[in-house]
Every structure is written in structure tokens, then in C-alpha cells.
């Protein structure tokens, strides 16, 4: 039903590529870290909705020009994957570029935002959905779709392979684009890639440790980088404004311990999901947070696992929130060991291995401005989530000050969860 409805919605689709304006030195490569490779089956999808003024009067070439300039600083995202002799993937920085898609929508932006409130799945038509594979060497890792609405507004849909970096990296890329459009020069060194090192075997002998709970090994997917789901996953989102949020926080807070918006929301949703999954209660959840300081290139995730000793349905959300607050962060070496066991060839998922809660409150999505215009709304989701599902807590539009929650769950759970959540936010 949705697909036939959407076929006419988005039309006049044109594909091209945009690469760096200057030549990258030959034989430059980027070798993803173990953490990066753990995330390779996931894709970040961000949609920035801009009003009419941001892109008024701009031809396609004028939109592409700053991209050519900003990509000079990102030779890695313009490259393509190859496999080393050991089978470990690496990126050859060959200037191939990002895919650039132009499209038109027959609705106005307001109509569209109304439609997606009911049905967030529609947003997949505003982001490119190409995955990496089956030919690694010819699959773009970053794709951009510019969709023009009937009213003149424009949406900028980014598909960013998680192996390149986390939400902060993706936001940094787009924010830099906004800066280049404004005529500023990015404050970033050009060459973050390096010449290919000969593959060295790791010095420390790997002990045969168990995989950590946070990272789930999945069956080999070969060169088609998307996890195989047993059920269709659906995304839905809801907004919580500032008053509702503080109301919720006060409801949950216990003996003077205050919980952050993320902890409060996650605890509530954890319990609701527990209620709708009586046979397979999510006793174990993964919590994901991005590092803000001292970031290296690529994924800088702080992952922890929380185990509930008792049934979720009976638990008090405050207790769940306390568990989350005190969760110990997994040592990165544990995760790295799991991946290094066979030199990065195996396939893993993080989102959806267990029910995953991602704290993206501090992500700088609303910092971008394109020709002086801020986005009206930013929508963010992750594709390639495993069967257990994922809940992402995102910053709300700056005017509201609240939060946006995007839940990616098996499709039959969406309606039930919505009714459960209504109970929390009605009063």
C-alpha cells in the first residue's frame, strides 16, 4: 500500500556523482578500525528539511559546486571498498565520489511532514537506499538526495555508511558543507588517508575470549552489507516537547536522583516494549553513546550493556533508568578482540543485536545553516537494524527544546508501542 502510494510521490529522479575537486594522491587508502568494521552493516539516514529560502534560485550546478570543494577534505568518503589479501576490507581513496540524486515531490513540505507523522516509513523515499554490495568496489558509501517539494522547500537526504563514522562524523560533514556554502574555509586537514601499509599480523596473541554481549556476530553476509532480518523492520517517530519531558523526568526521578532525558525516555520505552513482548522480554539492552571529545576519525562509540535481573513488565521505570545510568561501558578492547579474531572478515551488528538505545541528544544536527537558513526539521534513523530493534533519542527542533524519538522495530510492534506510550504522555 505504501509503495504504490509513494510511487507517484517522488518523481523525476536523476543520478550523477560528485567527487573531490582536486586530485587525491595515488595509492592512498584508509583502513577502518575494528569498531568501524563492527558497524559496517548499519547505515545512517539523515534528512534535513529546509524551507524555500535556503535553495531559492539555485541551479543543480550551484548546489554541486560547494560539494566538490568540501569533498577535498574527505577523500575517504569518496573512495571505494576493496578487500586485502586477508579478506579485511579497506577503502581505496580513488576520488570516485558520492552519489548525487535529484528528485521532485508532488506534495508541499507541510503536507509531507503531516504524512510522515502518521507513517515514518515514507521517509525512505527521501534518502537513497543503496547498500554497499554486491560489488564492493563500485558501491558508493555516501549518497545525497536533494528532493524539491511543490512549495519550493528542499530536503537534503544523506545516506552514510556507518563504517565511515558515527552520527557526529556525518553531522560534521554536513555542517562543513554549510560553511563552504557560506564561503568559509573548513578548518580540517586535507589528507587524513595514508599510503597502504603492508598487512601486519597483530603482535599480541589473541586469547579465545567470548564475544561481548554488545556486539552480535551474524551469519556471513559476504559482499552484501546488510543484515538479514527475520521480520520487516519499520520506523516510527514521535516528538516529546520540553514540558512533557520535564513532566516525565519528575515522574521517574527517585529519591533525588535525576535522570537525563535519555535515561528517562529509554526506561519508559524499555518497559513498554517489555509489555508488548511478553514471551521474549528484552532483559538485555545495549546502550550506545557517542564520544564528544578527543574524537578520532571514524566511529567513536561508547557501548555498554545493561542486564535486568527481573522481569521488565513488573519493573519500575525508575529502577530501569537507574540501571541505565550506572551501566558500565564496555572496554573497547573486548569489542576489538571479537573482531580481530579473524582479522575483520566476520560480520557483526550492534544496533538490534539486543534492543539498542542510542543516545544522540548531543548530535549537532541543527547546527547546520545553508545560506543562512536553519533546517525546519531533522529526521534521523538507522537502516540495517537487527531483529531486536533500536530506539534513537535525538535532539528536537531547537524551538521546542524537547526530544525526538525514532524507534525501529518489527512492523507488528509499532501500533502496540504507540498505544502503550500514549499512556505515559496523555496526562
Amino acid at each position: 500500500m505504501v509503495s504504490s502510494m509513494a510511487e507517484g510521490l517522488i518523481y523525476d529522479i536523476k543520478l550523477s556523482s560528485v567527487g573531490p575537486g582536486t586530485v587525491t594522491e595515488p595509492d592512498m587508502v584508509h583502513e577502518p578500525s575494528d569498531m568501524d568494521l563492527a558497524m559496517k552493516l548499519h547505515y545512517l539516514k539523515v534528512i534535513y528539511y529546509f524551507g524555500k529560502q535556503a535553495f531559492e534560485g539555485l541551479t543543480t550546478l550551484k548546489i554541486k559546486e560547494p560539494l566538490f570543494m568540501v569533498l577535498n577534505y574527505f577523500p575517504v568518503i569518496c573512495g571505494r571498498f576493496r578487500r586485502a589479501e586477508s579478506g579485511r576490507p579497506y577503502i581505496k581513496c580513488n576520488d570516485c565520489g558520492v552519489r548525487f540524486i535529484e528528485a521532485k515531490c508532488e506534495k508541499t513540505m507541510d503536507e509531507w511532514l503531516e504524512m510522515t507523522k502518521e507513517n515514518a516509513s515514507l521517509e525512505k523515499y527521501l534518502t537513497p537506499n543503496q547498500i554497499i554490495g554486491p560489488e564492493l568496489g563500485f558501491s558508493p558509501t555516501v549518497l545525497l538526495q536533494f528532493t524539491k517539494f511543490k512549495c519550493g522547500g528542499m530536503s537534503m537526504g544523506l545516506s552514510w555508511a556507518h563504517v565511515l563514522g558515527d552520527a557526529f562524523s556525518a553531522a560534521e560533514f554536513l555542517n562543513l558543507l554549510g560553511k563552504v556554502v557560506a564561503g568559509e574555509k573548513p578548518n580540517r586537514p586535507i589528507n587524513l588517508a595514508h599510503l597502504k601499509t603492508n598487512s601486519t599480523n597483530p603482535e599480541s596473541p589473541l586469547t579465545n575470549t567470548e564475544d561481548p554481549l554488545s556486539v552480535k556476530r551474524v551469519g556471513p553476509v559476504g559482499d552484501i552489507w546488510i543484515p538479514v532480518n527475520n521480520c520487516k523492520m519499520e520506523a516510527f517517530s514521535f516528538s516529546v516537547n520540553a514540558t512533557q519531558l520535564s513532566h516525565l523526568q519528575s515522574k521517574i526521578s527517585n529519591n533525588g536522583t535525576d535522570f537525563s532525558p535519555f535515561e528517562a525516555l529509554s526506561a519508559v520505552i524499555w518497559q513498554c516494549i517489555g509489555k508488548i513482548r511478553p514471551e521474549s522480554e528484552p532483559k538485555v539492552v545495549t546502550i550506545c553513546k557517542m564520544m564528544e571529545q578527543n574524537r578520532a576519525d571514524g566511529n567513536n562509540l561508547l557501548i555498554s550493556v545493561v542486564k535486568a535481573a527481573y522481569p521488565i513488565v513488573e519493573a519500575n521505570p525508575s529502577e530501569l533508568a537507574a540501571l541505565m545510568k550506572n551501566a558500565a561501558i564496555d572496554k573497547i578492547e573486548k569489542i576489538e578482540n571479537a573482531i580481530e579474531k579473524d582479522n575483520g572478515v566476520s560480520d557483526f551488528i550492534v544496533y538490534g543485536g539486543n534492543l539498542t538505545f542510542a543516545n544522540l541528544e548531543e548530535a549537532k544536527f541543527y547546527e547546520i545553516d545553508y545560506r543562512g537558513e536553519k533546517p525546519i526539521y531533522v529526521s534521523y534513523r538507522v537502516d540495517g537494524v537487527g531483529d531486536e530493534g533500536a530506539v534513537l533519542v535525538l535532539p528536537g527542533p531547537p524551538k521546542n527544546g524537547g526530544r525526538t524519538v525514532m524507534a525501529i522495530l518489527p512492523e507488528n510492534e509499532a501500533t502496540e508501542l504507540k498505544s502503550e506510550l500514549k499512556k505515559w504522555f496523555m496526562d
Binding site: K14, L15, S16, S17, G19, E65, F68, M69, G97, F138
Partner: protein
């Protein structure tokens, strides 16, 4: 050891003998005249002034005879100067530099090819092999319409490309020469594969508001050698019209000619042809003698179209699916070699020094009379020219000419580096090559340049220029930001 020594000695001896021979033959007039002048001078000194006056009086000249003789001399001199062809000067030229938004790296080209030719993996592999060996670099440019998957070659896009390339080159030229549009008397535009109505020359007249009595011409369909044909036409027109400026614009518009099918012989141009254009200002005005960069010495055109194989070797046609493309036959290099031989045979006597011509004559007579097995003597054109601009049609063309004319790597450097940086820009590639030589600071006053171009038909055209004043390294132009990186080593096969 002893075997090597005689070889060395003999080769050294041979070198000096050759040098001596060349010096003698090339300056033979001087060698004859000097003894005669010395003899006369000695005789005069011996006779003394009174004896000279006596000899003069004994000739019995009277006024009428003197006047008639002087009038005769003046008359002959006038006829000589009037019938001498006007000198044609190249005041300045400008080449188009494509913007970075048009850049096409190898990897992008191949990825797009794979997506467009999904059903023909063999054709995709063929294109990859061509690209690896093509000699092109990662900075060549294609027009915006060709960047789409699949390409969108509309007429509007083609006009857009033409406007962008031509107006940019002309604008740059006008800025350099400070010439006003109203001063242009002759306009020649050549673009082989895009010929709209109104013509591209009309487009230029419209944009720059040129005079209504301008002599404008538009040459289309004449292939990659059309640039020199335009120069030849401009030269002839400048003989007829005194005191004029001629603006010549050479370009090739890629947008409408991108082959969309999968026949291998027709995919080759897609891999090689790239965006480019040049605008050249020629003049026959006396005052440009000082400021002009070059003087046109010869233009030699050779047309092999009478031969059927030569005529069909670069042929535009429809493939079995009805898609139009340019078919390059397998005999292309052989035919090019023959066309070159014809052209050299005509241009040789015009430019080669007497020593080379004599040697060639002797070996020719020798082969006919004494022994047909003698190797034909290939004249050494390096003695006739300091710089060579070989049309960057493809790596094979440059290799072939380097071999046939026995040129060193430095002589063909301009051609190879132009092919690497800009690809095959068709008729304008000669001007990019000239720009390279100037940007490297190698152009000195008195240097002679040979421009050779090949094109469909099959034609081989040459132009010979002489540098009028030492050219200072330009601060603008298409090579300005990358000349320091050149020359680069171009591997036989690039690893994609």
C-alpha cells in the same frame, strides 16, 4: 674492449663529420661569398681612389641611362614588396580551463560505465582496458550533461557547453589583448560534431555584438585537424583584406556526441575525448609586429580522402541498435602514417636546411640507381624546429610520430602532458600544447614550432610558426595551477 673502442671512435668521427657537413652545406653561400668579397676589397685597395674614378668615367654613363636604371630598380623593388604575401601574426591566444565541477576521475568514469552498460560487461571491460592504457590523467573534464547516469544530452545542454567553452576562451583572449569586439573583422569558428542553427559563429556575433559587416565562417564536420584548416582560411582572408584582425575559435562540443551504445569500436572516443577550446587572434597589421607572439610561416594541408580506406577510417554511423557513434577502423595508425609521410614530403623542402635535403636527395638517387636495399633516409626534423606540437589524439598517435620522426622524449613532452591533463580536446589540443611550452618557459625568440594535426577524411595538416619575441612565463592560462607538477611519468598501464 677493442671492439667497443672502434665503434665509439667511428661514431664520434661520424658525428663530427656530420656536423661539419651540415655547417658547410647550410652556409655554402657564405663560404662562396666571403672569398669573393675579400678579393674585391683587396683589388679596390690595390687600385686606389683615382683608378676607381677613371674606371667609372670610362663607362660613359649619361643622365638618361642613370635615371632609367634607377627607375627600373625602384619599379622592380615595388613590385616585389607589393606581391610579397602579407605577414600573418598570432597576437595572442587563450585556452579554456574547465571548472572543477566537470572533473572525471577514472574510477567515476568506470563506475558510471558499469551502471549505464549493465547488460554489456564485455564492453565495460573493454573501456577499462582502453582507459588504463590511454595516457589520460585524473583531471580531464566532461560537460555536466555527461555526468548523469545515463547521460542527458539535450540540445540545450549542448548549447550550454558551447557557450561556456567558447565565451570563456574569447573573454580570456579579449582581456589579454585589450581588443574591442568592434575591431574584429574576420571570425572563424570550427567545431566538428555540433552544428546548430544559428551557427556557433552567429552565437559569438550575438554575444559580443560584433560588426554587421563581419566576415564570419563556421566550419563543421572537418575533424580534429580543423583547427589548422581555420588558420589556413584566416591566412588566406588576411591576404585579401588589409589591416584586419581575425578571431579563430577551435573547439569540440562533447555533449551531443557521447556514444550511448555498446559497440567496442565506437566506445573508444568516449574514453578519450574531453572538454576543451581555444580562441586565437591573428592579425596582418604592421603595428602588431612588435607585440605579436608568433608569425605564421607555412601551412601545409594533405588530404588522403581520395583513397577509400582513408576516407572510411573515421566514420560516423549508426550501430545495430540505432545509436549514433564514431567508428574508428583498425587501420587508423597505418593510414595516419601514410598521411604523415605525404605531409612531410611537402613540408620538408620548405623547412629543412639544405644539408638534410641534399642527403635525402642522394639517398633517393642511390636507392633508385645503385641499391634499392639502402634504408630510406628520414630527414632530421629536429634541425628545422625547436618545438613540436603533435595533436594529442591518443597515446598511439604520439608514440607513432615520435618513432617515425625520431624525436626525443622532451620533444613530445608537450603532447603527452596535454593528453594527460586535458585528454583529447580535438582541434584545440595544439593550443594547449603550445601553452605548456610557454608555461615551462621554453619559448625563445626565433624558435620555430611545428604543429601537426590529424583528422577524419583522412587529413594531415601542419602549421609552422616562428616565435616573434621571447614569451615570458604566463601568470594565467590553463596550466597555471598545475604546471609545477609536470612533467609526470605516465605508466604504460594505470592500475585502476
Amino acid at each position: 674492449m677493442p671492439q667497443i673502442l672502434p665503434n665509439f671512435l667511428s661514431s664520434v668521427k661520424l658525428k663530427y663529420v656530420k656536423l661539419g657537413y651540415q655547417y658547410l652545406v647550410n652556409h655554402i653561400l657564405t663560404f662562396f661569398l666571403i672569398p669573393i668579397m675579400v678579393g674585391i676589397l683587396v683589388e679596390i685597395l690595390r687600385l686606389g681612389p683615382e683608378e676607381m674614378l677613371n674606371i667609372w668615367r670610362s663607362l660613359h654613363f649619361d643622365l638618361v641611362q642613370v635615371l632609367c636604371s634607377s627607375f627600373l630598380i625602384i619599379f622592380i623593388a615595388t613590385v616585389y614588396f607589393m606581391s610579397k604575401p602579407r605577414s600573418i601574426y598570432l597576437v595572442e591566444y587563450a585556452c579554456y580551463k574547465p571548472p572543477i565541477t566537470c572533473r572525471v576521475p577514472f574510477s567515476t568514469f568506470m563506475e558510471h560505465s558499469r551502471l549505464i552498460l549493465k547488460e554489456n560487461p564485455k564492453s565495460v571491460d573493454f573501456q577499462m582496458r582502453i582507459l588504463e592504457r590511454s595516457g589520460l590523467g585524473e583531471e580531464t573534464c566532461l560537460p555536466p550533461a555527461i555526468h548523469y547516469i545515463p547521460p542527458t544530452p539535450t540540445m540545450e545542454a549542448a548549447r550550454g557547453e558551447a557557450e561556456q567553452v567558447i565565451f570563456s576562451a574569447i573573454g580570456s583572449l579579449m582581456e589579454k589583448t585589450k581588443i574591442k569586439p568592434k575591431d574584429i573583422d574576420i571570425l572563424i569558428v570550427n567545431c566538428s560534431l555540433f552544428s546548430p542553427t544559428p551557427s556557433l559563429s552567429a552565437m559569438v556575433v550575438n554575444k559580443y555584438k560584433l560588426r554587421s559587416n563581419i566576415k564570419s565562417y563556421n566550419l563543421s564536420g572537418m575533424g580534429c585537424s580543423a583547427g589548422l584548416i581555420s588558420i589556413d582560411l584566416a591566412r588566406d582572408l588576411l591576404q585579401v583584406h588589409p589591416n584586419s584582425y581575425a578571431l579563430v575559435v577551435s573547439t569540440e562540443i562533447i555533449t551531443p556526441n557521447y556514444y550511448q551504445g555498446s559497440e567496442r569500436a565506437m566506445l573508444l572516443p568516449n574514453c578519450l575525448f574531453r572538454m576543451g577550446g581555444a580562441a586565437i587572434l591573428l592579425s596582418n597589421k604592421r603595428r602588431d609586429r612588435r607585440r605579436a607572439k608568433y608569425r605564421l610561416v607555412h601551412v601545409v594541408r594533405t588530404h588522403k580522402g581520395a583513397d577509400d580506406k582513408a576516407y572510411k577510417c573515421v566514420y560516423e554511423q549508426e550501430d545495430p541498435q540505432g545509436k549514433v557513434g564514431i567508428n574508428l577502423s583498425k587501420d587508423l595508425m597505418v593510414i595516419a602514417g601514410e598521411a604523415l609521410k605525404s605531409n612531410i614530403t611537402t613540408i620538408g623542402p620548405l623547412v629543412l636546411p639544405a644539408s638534410e635535403q641534399l642527403l635525402f636527395l642522394f639517398t633517393l638517387i642511390g636507392r633508385k640507381i645503385f641499391n634499392p636495399k639502402w634504408k630510406p633516409y628520414i630527414p632530421d626534423f629536429k634541425q628545422a624546429f625547436e618545438h613540436f606540437c603533435i595533436h594529442a589524439g591518443g597515446r598511439a598517435v604520439i608514440d607513432e610520430l615520435q618513432k617515425n620522426l625520431q624525436l626525443s622524449a622532451e620533444h613530445v613532452e608537450a603532447s603527452r602532458m596535454t593528453l594527460h591533463r586535458f585528454g583529447n580536446t580535438s582541434s584545440s589540443s595544439l593550443w594547449y600544447e603550445l601553452g605548456y611550452i610557454e608555461a615551462k618557459g621554453r619559448m625563445k625568440k626565433g624558435d620555430r614550432i611545428w604543429q601537426i594535426a590529424f583528422g577524419s577524411g583522412f587529413k594531415c595538416n601542419s602549421a609552422v610558426w616562428k616565435c616573434n619575441r621571447t614569451v615570458r612565463t604566463p601568470t594565467d592560462g590553463p596550466w597555471q595551477d598545475c604546471i609545477d607538477r609536470y612533467p609526470v611519468h605516465i605508466p604504460e598501464i594505470v592500475k585502476l
